[in-house]
């Protein structure tokens, strides 16, 4: 009677053993990359706000929630940051919670208690534009900023073989050939679409905007010649540009004018059009009430990291500019968007949708 039971037990033991042995190697390696066991009593830190020097010596574990699936530039930029933070005694675990353009994740973090040590890897898109488009269950005022460190660069690119190579030539071309140019962007009725229409206002220029699924889709449609223009990340466009599959016309980086990845590409502001993508810079946000000492410690570490050559290089390969803004600057940056751009965005949404 018990032989059967014993067999089942042994099977389960065997399976679990196989798992532990099979994956045990991984776990050991992982400990090198991101020490799981660095669990430290965090309450200590909260108490001694003023003795920052002592607290800085202690290891602390935090979670960085990313609103997109693993593998994209949003996720990778967070992972590089997490990796770099480990040199400062901050063990950061990256948690992916994809869904609703990052708003699912932001909603989750906004509901965390301040001592959960959970941070949101947020951008203007998630924190400001999405809540402006509809009720997402949170607003930016449920959060406190920590620091900004990353600015992904986006660009407008034209397919190979078109008769325009600069933004001015493009605008002239559209004026001369109304209704001919097709522009593929990333989705419709969102902040990316809004920015594109700021560069090329549809009431003045007659062209077709088509919302494609995402950056990869835009790149593919440009290479295949199904659209004439595309709005995609500079990192995705650069190799295709070098290979002659497309031509990058202009970048829309908000933090700096020229992206060191492709310094020859002008910024949209140089043409007197303020359509820089202020919704893209990525900052770390904490739920309201998070310990000041911890926030400051992370912010200071991020300042150091933003100057590290390797880190800058890694970000550059992703098409992201490492650019540090401290807590106050970050808040000002986001509040500037909320005051100036969001009302315009809402009006745009109301008139179009």
């Amino acid at each position: 009677m018990s032989r059967n039971k014993l067999f089942i037990l042994m099977l389960i033991m065997f399976l679990s053993l196989a798992l532990i042995i099979g994956c045990g190697g991984d776990n050991g390696d992982e400990a090198v990359a991101d020490p799981d066991e660095a669990d430290v009593d965090l309450d200590d830190e909260e108490e001694d706000d003023d003795s920052d020097d002592d607290a800085a010596q202690e290891d602390v574990e935090i979670d960085i929630v990313v609103g997109f699936g693993a593998g994209g530039s949003n996720d990778l930029s967070a992972r590089y940051l997490a990796q770099a933070l480990s040199d400062y005694g901050i063990t950061a675990n990256v948690i992916n919670m994809p869904g609703g353009m990052g708003t699912e994740a932001a909603y989750h973090v906004s509901n965390q208690s301040p001592d959960a040590n959970m941070f949101m890897w947020g951008s203007g898109l998630i924190m400001l534009f999405e809540p402006a488009a509809g009720d997402r269950g949170f607003t930016i005022h449920d959060f406190e900023p920590v620091a900004t460190i990353a600015g992904p660069t986006f660009a407008l690119a034209a397919k190979a073989g078109v008769p325009y190579e600069t933004l001015e030539e493009l605008i002239t071309y559209i004026e001369e050939n109304p209704g001919e140019v097709v522009l593929g962007g990333q989705g419709e009725g969102n902040s990316m679409h809004f920015i594109v229409e700021k560069i090329l206002p549809p009431d003045e220029l007659d062209y077709t905007y088509v919302g494609l699924a995402g950056g990869a889709d835009v790149a593919l449609n440009l290479t295949g010649g199904h659209v004439d223009l595309g709005h995609l990340s500079l990192a995705a466009a650069r190799p295709l540009h070098q290979d002659g599959d497309l031509t990058v016309l202009v970048n829309t980086q908000a933090l700096v004018e020229r992206d060191p990845l492709m310094p020859e590409i002008p910024n949209v502001i140089e043409f007197g059009i303020d359509a820089r993508e202020t919704h893209s810079p990525l900052a770390l946000f904490a739920p309201q009430g998070t310990d000041e000492g911890l926030k400051q410690r992370i912010s200071e570490a991020m300042e150091q990291i933003a100057q590290d050559e390797d880190f800058i290089q890694s970000y550059q390969d992703l098409g992201v500019i490492a650019h540090y803004l401290n807590t106050d600057e970050t808040w000002d940056f986001f509040m500037d968007i909320e005051e100036n751009l969001i009302p315009e965005f809402e009006a745009w949404l109301d008139s179009n949708y």
Binding site: I8, I12, D63
Partner: protein, 161 residues
């Protein structure tokens, strides 16, 4: 005559058609653009068409209609769903190991006691229960090791492990 031909098969098809028709009418009062409602309307149209075809078939060729199981499983479906939901709630709020071990042993003990009653032999029941509880704990630990320690699944902090 009509009543005789009105089978459960046909009734369910009719209900689905009505529900879909309701949604279909509803789409006209939605604040969405026609393009966004294009595929939803195709979907609802297909459901209506399918439902009508099912009813028609009942009238035209009732003899080859599907025989639906009369076994009353619905309470079990609801029960299992509730158990799944309850467990889903419990492992996030009470603790993965605790919820799994308690949930599994509760079920197994209940089945074992029921079996013992049915066969009217309580011989070895205690031993069997102990083994089952051990098995439940082993499963709970394996789940914890696999999902949390190895795969790094995100777990909210809970009262118990």
């Amino acid at each position: 005559m009509l009543a005789k031909k009105l089978t459960i098969n046909g009734v369910v098809g009719g209900v689905l058609t009505l529900v879909a028709a309701g949604f279909f009418i509803w789409t006209y009062s939605m604040r969405l653009r026609p393009m966004e409602l294009f595929v939803p309307r195709i979907a609802l149209g297909l459901i209506m068409l399918g439902g009508v075809l099912v009813i028609l078939k009942e009238f035209v060729k009732p003899e080859i209609g599907d025989r639906l199981s009369k076994a009353f499983i619905l309470p079990y479906a609801i029960g299992v769903s509730l158990m799944m939901w309850l467990y889903g709630w419990a492992f996030r709020n009470i603790g993965l190991i605790t919820a799994t071990a308690i949930g599994l042993s509760a079920w197994w003990i209940w089945v074992a006691v029921r079996d013992a009653r049915r066969t009217k032999s309580t011989k070895g029941l205690t031993l069997r229960i102990i083994k089952l509880v051990v098995l439940a704990i082993v499963v709970a630990v394996v789940v914890q090791l696999l999902f949390v320690n190895l795969l790094g699944m995100y777990m909210p902090s809970t009262l118990f492990p």
